[in-house]
Symmetry: C2
Subunit: 251 residues, 2 copies
């Protein structure tokens, strides 16, 4: 039963990086139309309750300003003065995806219980990855506001290339998952143009390039918040998958 | 004075990822031949004292076995029964590079004091990146034994693509820095072939492809420890740099 649910719900990059819970419900119960009493089978751990994409005291004024800008675009005022949904949508973000994931042969119960999403695994606010992803379904694009914490150091005083790659995977994967459903990363090709100082706030701009069968091609640019400085450019390829094997489903 | 030292010592990827302290001394004092009394100007923080590449209780038997294998190759016995240096060399690894790094305009004193190398910033042993890099100067290659902790999750039960990219940057950058001196990552091109379960132990094999002027091209393959399974393939490009600007040196 759980394997059955798991096989159809796992929009990997969506779940990991911030699909709305209500949409997960829709995915879970799209075909079966089960009543809400199936909450007892709710496959998420309690740790999911904190939405990491909410502002916190570690955010710099610049981070808050850019967040407010995009957040305001999520709701617009009509001619009648009524509020309605805007072109952008803010995605929530949790530190755990599914508690029933069993992984492969190596994944012990202990690891399974303690596993946390890489970008949300540090508890101290502001120490590592602070970010919020906004998607624009119509434009098939997303923007991520990112503040680099002090635990992400690579070259002295600057953000590690791997931390930047991690955010590129996260942002492009979120967009690919949002547009194409369950996907996994197949390729990341990253050009590092100029170093990113620790503590800085930058924007990740990601756009759909094209979809070819099971392949979703996405581009990404990392710039200063005023977009005057280019830090990094990347392309990413995601492949749509049947995710049952990740959950150890036997059917 | 410190800026002067900084300008000549920073083999970025070497310092971050494990050059011997004795070699750093040589780099620091190569031209000036200062006496040891200049220890008062020693630009490393006390936090450097723990070598993270030593075995610890979080290592699985598999991790320990592969480590022992390469560690044994660092010292060989001659025909006379004497011990001598082998073809491989184990690199130490610290969680901080330089305490005098000032970064760019964004880097506050507070961030500077708390900054830690991304791959060594989690204190709990076994929770994140457990790894040791061995280099073979003659073969212009290195091998990294890596155990993926539970805080590196991406797809449920599996290692985040960004965590794998981080290790690829670390291992290829260590080799490039070892062979070419101060370098920074210019490109990473990563093909993800098969998912890596959380908790698994894998090998990163990195080889020099070629050096063209300021460019060092390095390849990397990530396999199971018996090398039967290919998880990831990558190429990396590093560019030799004058690192003074990273330290805010003025003269």
């Amino acid at each position: 039963m759980l394997g059955h649910i798991a096989r159809r719900l796992c929009h990997l990059h969506q779940i990991s990086n911030g699909l709305r819970i209500s949409n997960l419900f829709q995915l879970l119960f799209k075909e079966t139309r089960r009543p809400v009493s199936t909450m007892s089978l709710w496959p998420f751990s309690a740790a999911m309750s904190r939405d990491f994409s909410q502002p916190n005291s570690s955010w710099s004024p610049e981070m808050r300003r850019v967040y407010d800008h995009y957040n305001a675009l999520c709701e617009v005022e009509t001619e009648n003065g009524e509020k309605t949904r805007g072109p952008w949508r803010k995605l929530p973000s949790y530190n755990r995806s599914l508690k029933y994931a069993t992984g492969g042969a190596y994944l012990s119960k202990l690891i399974q219980a303690k596993a946390r999403l890489f970008t949300r695994s540090v508890k101290e606010q502001g120490a590592a990855f602070e970010y919020v992803v906004f998607v624009n379904k119509e434009e098939k694009s997303c923007v991520c506001v990112f503040q680099a914490g002090h635990l992400l150091e690579g070259a002295p005083g600057h953000v590690h290339g791997g931390a930047i790659a991690t955010m590129i995977d996260t942002v492009t994967g979120t967009l690919a998952g949002y547009l194409s459903g369950p996907v996994m990363t197949a390729n990341l090709n990253i050009d590092y143009r100029s170093p990113m100082p620790l503590g800085s706030v930058v924007l990740f701009h990601s756009n759909l390039d094209r979809i070819e069968g099971r392949k979703t091609f996405v581009t990404c640019k990392v710039t200063s918040t005023d977009e005057s400085k280019l830090h990094t450019e990347a392309t990413a390829l995601f492949v749509s998958i049947n995710v049952g094997h990740l959950f150890g489903a036997r059917s």
